[in-house]
Each structure stands twice: as structure tokens, then as C-alpha cells.
């Protein structure tokens, strides 16, 4: 059963992750859902696919009042990111979903009304969570053409969506990256195939290396901490992407 684990706590300001679902059928990619809490308001980043909704919902509700979730953040349009939208809205029709303007007329195919969506412009935006400022940081073309990371400057956490993702074998599926070199082998093919543009990648590396980041949290795989964050950014900068097809 999926569990909610706290990865950052400073009073009423917390980050938690729902990760590693042992009951999840193998044909679904494993995903991490991140919950940012600030007092009585919470935001759920990349709520996940429809098929794992009951696991995610149960894991969160076992620890906190699910009505505190007022915002959903969708890094991009993929089904593993946001196909659970209709179910979340069944639960709370007043939820707001923050999403790139580019996908504003696509994601409603998963559910929601015109009032549900808050469009994020290409240059990014700030989302206020009970006074805590969260920045939607542009990460376009990595891999989606309308794509955002979410940065919490107070917690120094970057939710990076598919960037930093790794497809881990069961024996190496710890929540945190412990050995960067071993770990990154499982990230390499994913990035080469899914990330489409070297130019977009370099601009992201440049933008993100200016931020103070203690934890880089991807939607799949393990969380990078401390020095591994810089290691990852450097590794990614050097990787030739958009070249995952063998010819």
C-alpha cells in the first residue's frame, strides 16, 4: 500500500511524498506524488493516473484531511500526471488545477470545467499557498512542450516532474539517491529518449543552477539531495538528448 512520507518539515510548512506502490500492476509506471502543506492549505503536485487514484487518495487521507488540498499542479499533460483529475474533482469540485496554458484545452478531456484551470503563462507564475510562494519554473520541451517545475524557495525543494526521472529496478528503489553513479544508469535512457531538445535542456540547467536546491524531486524514481542535485544538473547538461532512437 502506498504511504505518505514527510521529506521536509518546518512547523506548519511541510513536503510529503506518496511513493512506491507495491500493489500497483506492472504495466503502469510507478509515480511519486508530492504534497506541499502550509497550515490549512495544501497543493498536490502531479496527482497521478486514474488507476492509482484510490491508492494515492488513501495514503494522503490516512495522514491529513484531504479537504485541505485546494490546488492541483500538473507539470504537464501526461496521463500518469493528471488523468485522475475527474476523480479529484468528484471529491472536491472546487479544486483548482494549475497547468501550462498550452494544455488548457487538452487536459479538460480528463475532466473539469472552465473554472477548474489556472493557466500558467510560458514565462512561469507564482502560486500562493496560504501565503507561501511557490514558483512555477519553465521546463518546456523537457519532455513536454508546455512543462513546468515547481520551486519552493523557503524549503529549497524543486519538484522537477519528468526531469531527473529514473526507472529503478526493485532492488534499487530507495526513496533517495544514495549512490549517484549507480543511480544515474537508470536515468540515462529515459532522458535520452524523452527529452527532446539540447537547447531547452541547457537553458533549464542554466535557470535551475541559479536556484538554491536541497532536494530535487522527480515524478519517477528517487530524490536527489545535496551535492547530488548539482551532480544531476551537470550530468544532464552533458548528456546528448533527443537521441534515444538507435538508427
Amino acid at each position: 500500500m502506498k504511504k505518505l512520507e514527510f521529506i521536509y518539515e518546518d512547523g506548519a510548512h511541510k513536503w510529503a511524498v506518496v511513493a512506491r506502490d507495491p500493489e500497483k500492476p506492472n504495466h503502469l509506471i510507478d509515480t511519486n506524488e508530492y504534497l506541499v502543506l502550509n497550515g490549512s492549505e495544501a497543493l498536490l503536485a502531479d496527482p497521478g493516473g486514474m488507476e492509482i487514484f484510490s491508492a494515492v487518495f488513501s495514503a494522503i487521507s490516512a495522514e491529513i484531511d484531504p479537504y485541505t488540498i485546494r490546488h492541483l499542479f500538473a507539470s504537464h499533460q501526461d496521463p500518469d500526471v493528471i488523468s485522475s483529475l475527474a476523480l479529484w474533482l468528484d471529491f472536491n469540485p472546487d479544486l483548482k488545477c494549475h497547468l501550462s496554458w498550452l494544455w488548457g484545452s487538452f487536459v479538460p478531456h480528463f475532466g473539469g470545467t472552465a473554472e477548474t484551470f489556472v493557466a500558467i503563462p510560458d514565462e512561469g507564475a507564482t502560486i500562493s499557498l496560504g501565503g507561501l510562494m511557490l514558483d512555477a519554473v519553465p521546463a518546456h520541451y523537457l519532455h513536454s512542450s508546455g512543462n513546468f517545475n515547481l520551486y519552493d524557495r523557503k524549503a529549497r525543494i524543486l519538484f522537477s516532474g519528468d526531469v531527473g526521472a529514473a526507472l529503478l529496478p526493485p532492488e534499487e528503489s530507495g526513496l533517495y539517491v544514495e549512490n549517484f553513479d549507480r543511480h544515474i544508469r537508470h536515468a540515462r535512457d529515459f532522458h535520452r529518449r524523452w527529452m527532446g531538445s539540447n537547447k531547452a535542456k541547457l537553458s533549464w540547467c542554466e535557470r535551475v543552477s541559479r536556484l538554491d536546491i536541497d532536494m530535487l524531486c522527480p515524478q519517477h524514481g528517487a530524490i536527489y539531495r545535496g551535492e547530488d542535485v548539482k551532480r544531476f544538473i551537470n550530468w544532464f547538461a552533458d548528456l546528448d538528448v533527443g537521441s534515444g532512437i538507435r538508427d
Binding site: 500500500m1 486514474m50 487514484f53 484510490s54 491508492a55 487518495f57 488513501s58 487521507s61 490516512a62 484531504p66 479537504y67 475527474a86 476523480l87 468528484d90 471529491f91
Partner: protein, 200 residues
């Protein structure tokens, strides 16, 4: 219980699709009636005064085929809204089952999930009502179409009688009359079969 619901749902969508196929078939055949009737009118015209009766019957048949077309379009519209509602129902049932799963994982989830379930079930209830209203309308409309077909059948019988008075054209007119009879009978039996299936 949920599995039974799913089976119910699938068979209801299946029924709609099946009914739609029959309706499409009838529409196809009825456009044939139009052509046959037109053909009959032309032949009657050519054979002159002696087949005036046949010409009258043929033009009535054209009118019948036009009315049938309109009636079948009405049936098609009902089918369209049934498909839409059956699909909505299916989605609602799926959503409901996700929340049932949450509850079955942990009884303490009841307090979070119950209001949602109530909302989803209320929605399902109103879609269900809409669906049974539409099935009812579909049956009524089908009865109207069958009545129309009865008049089509008696027209085809008249065509056969009138063909006898066709003089040297009699053989050709008889052939046309048989063609008309065959087509109307085919429509009639398809619709009757459909009505039987809908009554189940």
C-alpha cells in the same frame, strides 16, 4: 455487486449499438423503396392510361418511403442520446468504483468518501432516469414506424392488384410490385425483430 453493475452497463450499451445497427439497416432498405417506387412510376407512365392505378400506388409508395425516412431519423436521434447517456453512465460507474476501492482499503476513509459517493450516485440516478425515458420514447416511436409499415404493406398489395390491369406491361409491373413487396416485408420484419429485442 460492482461487477454485476458493469455487466449490466456493458449489455445496455451493447443493446443500443445492436438497435442502431438494425435502424441503419432499415434506413438503407427504405432508400431502396424510394428508388423502386420511382422506377414503378416511370414504367406506369410509359404504359399509359391502363396503368393509372399503378401510378397512383407508386406515388403513394414514394410518400411512404419519405415518411419512413423521417421516422427512422427520429429513431436515430433517440439512439444517439442513448449512446451518450450509456457512456456517461459507464464513466460514472467507473468513478464510483474507484471511491468504493478507497473505502474497501480502509473503513476510516468512509467519512471522506461518503459525500462524494452520494454525489456520484445522485448523478447516476438522473442519468438512469434519462435512459429509461429514452428507451420508452424509442419503443413508442418504433410502434409508430411499424404502423407506418402496415400502410406500406397494404400499398404493396395494391400494387400487385393494379399490376394485373397493366395489359401488355402487366408482367413488368408484376415484377416491380413483387420487388416492392419484398422490400417492405424486409423492413417490417427487421423492425418487428427490433421491437421484440427491445421488449426483453
Amino acid at each position: 455487486m460492482d461487477i454485476m453493475d458493469d455487466i449490466d452497463q456493458i449489455s445496455s450499451l451493447h443493446r443500443v449499438v445492436k438497435a442502431n445497427e438494425d435502424i441503419k439497416k432499415v434506413i438503407r432498405i427504405s432508400s431502396g423503396v424510394n428508388l423502386v417506387a420511382l422506377n414503378a412510376m416511370l414504367i406506369a407512365k410509359r404504359s399509359g392510361e391502363r396503368s393509372r392505378g399503378f401510378a397512383v400506388v407508386s406515388s403513394e409508395l414514394r410518400l411512404f418511403s419519405r415518411n419512413l425516412d423521417i421516422a427512422m431519423t427520429g429513431l436515430g436521434e433517440l439512439i444517439f442520446s442513448l449512446v451518450r447517456d450509456a457512456a456517461t453512465m459507464q464513466r460514472q460507474r467507473q468513478q464510483r468504483s474507484h471511491f468504493m476501492t478507497v473505502m474497501s482499503r480502509n473503513k476510516s476513509m468512509r467519512k471522506w468518501v461518503e459525500p462524494t459517493l452520494a454525489r456520484v450516485e445522485a448523478r447516476m440516478g438522473s442519468v438512469e432516469e434519462e435512459i429509461s425515458r429514452d428507451w420508452h420514447k424509442l419503443r413508442l416511436q418504433l410502434n409508430r414506424v411499424l404502423q407506418l409499415c402496415e400502410s406500406g404493406r397494404s400499398l404493396s398489395r395494391s400494387a400487385k392488384i393494379e399490376a394485373v390491369y397493366g395489359g401488355d406491361m402487366s408482367a413488368t409491373l408484376k415484377q416491380v410490385a413483387n420487388q416492392i413487396e419484398g422490400t417492405v416485408d424486409e423492413i417490417f420484419s427487421t423492425l418487428k425483430l427490433l421491437r421484440m429485442q427491445l421488449a426483453e
